[in-house]
Structures are given as structure tokens and as C-alpha cells.
């Protein structure tokens, strides 16, 4: 799938938000 920088930007923000929540759930965010 070809992506533009703008699409990558949107993906990156969405992915970071998702994994921040998982890290908080796991406790890894506090390590």
C-alpha cells in the first residue's frame, strides 16, 4: 500500500494514541 507523508502522519498519530493506552493498561508506561 503506497502512503503519502500525510497518510503516514495520520497513521502515526492514531497508532501512538492506541499504544499509549495499551502501555498504560500494561503498566509499561510507568517503567
Amino acid at each position: 500500500m503506497t502512503v503519502t507523508p500525510a497518510e503516514f502522519d495520520a497513521f502515526l498519530h492514531k497508532d501512538i494514541e492506541k499504544w499509549v493506552q495499551v502501555a498504560k493498561f500494561s503498566g509499561a508506561a510507568g517503567q
Binding site: 500500500m1 503506497t2 502512503v3 503519502t4 507523508p5 503516514f8 502522519d9 497513521f11 502515526l12 498519530h13 497508532d15 501512538i16 499504544w19 493506552q21 495499551v22 502501555a23 493498561f25 500494561s26 509499561a28 517503567q31
Partner: protein, 179 residues
């Protein structure tokens, strides 16, 4: 994120969730039922806290409401060995790395981690289609540039997000394990 501007994605690798053959399940739903029946009794291996395999398993626990104990190893090799030898019940791993072990019957694959099936393990359902809708996890590599990089420069490269096809190089697989 304010310090960087995204330029391009380079690679995306799916993961596979596997269990040791002694775990008495043949499907993802059976594994979830077993984990719910025995909260805190099953364990999974990762190659380090905060890494992709740890986060994938935690996402699985979060969505399914299961309590599976995390055991962190120093390397992905130790993580893999712990499940192959039956010291841990489950792990997530990169498909190109784990596929030969699955085919050899050393571990049992219960699901792959993206929205579509892997070309490498096409007979293995996705975790989403196996009963955990919306589950999506993988390892991607990309390029970012310092914030303020002139747009004509930062927007020049275009990239692909290839599926984890058999053509994934050993270098790509090894790199994906240690992002």
C-alpha cells in the same frame, strides 16, 4: 511528535500468536476460555517490557479481559525458546521468524495479528476473525525528519506498506524484531 515530521513508511510485519502444544486448546476461542477459567495461571513470554511482543499480548489481554502473566526475557531468542520448550504457554512473534516453528509443530498458531490473513501462514485465521474483532498489531518501520525540515524534502520519498510476504528478507525480519 512535535519534534518530528513523518516522511515515509518502510515496512510492516504481522505477528502470530502461538501456544506450546501442551496447552489444551486448538483455537483462539478455546484459549480465551481457558485463560478466563484460570485467571493468572497462564503465562506469556516477551522479549522485553514495552516491546512489540509485550504490547501485542497486552492489547490481547485488554480486549479479551483475560489475566495472563507476563514474563519478560532479555532477547527474542530466549522468548521463543521459552515457549518452544514449554516454560511459557503463549507468545507473539514475527511471522517470518516463527512460521518454520509452526510448520514443524513445535508451537501451535492460534491467530495472526493484522486485519487480513498472512500469505505465509494463510491457513491461520486472523485474531480478529477468530473472535477478537478489531485486534490489530504489528511492527512497522518508518522514516521521520526533524520538525521544520523543508516540505519539498520531507515529502519527496514515497513508500510502500508491504504485506508480510514470503519475500521478506532475513535482514528485514531480524530488524523487525528489534525496532
Amino acid at each position: 511528535m512535535r519534534d518530528f515530521v513523518p516522511v515515509a513508511t518502510l515496512n510492516y510485519s504481522d505477528l502470530v500468536m502461538v501456544v506450546h502444544p501442551s496447552v489444551p486448546v486448538n483455537s483462539l476461542q478455546e484459549f480465551i476460555a481457558l485463560a478466563k477459567a484460570k485467571p493468572g495461571k497462564l503465562s506469556y513470554a516477551s522479549s522485553g517490557g514495552g516491546g512489540p511482543y509485550h504490547m501485542a499480548a497486552e492489547l490481547f489481554k485488554k480486549i479479551t479481559g483475560t489475566d495472563i502473566v507476563h514474563v519478560s526475557y532479555r532477547t527474542s531468542g530466549e522468548q521463543r525458546k521459552a515457549v518452544i520448550e514449554g516454560h511459557r504457554d503463549m507468545t507473539f512473534d514475527a511471522i517470518p521468524t516463527m512460521a518454520p516453528t509452526v510448520r514443524a509443530g513445535q508451537v501451535r498458531a492460534l491467530g495472526t495479528s493484522s486485519a487480513t490473513r498472512s500469505e505465509v501462514l494463510s491457513d491461520v485465521p486472523t485474531i480478529s476473525e477468530a473472535g477478537v474483532p478489531g485486534f490489530d498489531a504489528g511492527i512497522w518501520l518508518g522514516i521521520v525528519a526533524p520538525a521544520g525540515t523543508p516540505k519539498p524534502t520531507s515529502s519527496t520519498p514515497r513508500s510502500t506498506r508491504p504485506s508480510p510476504a514470503p519475500s521478506s528478507s532475513p535482514h528485514g525480519s531480524a530488524r523487525a524484531q528489534h525496532p
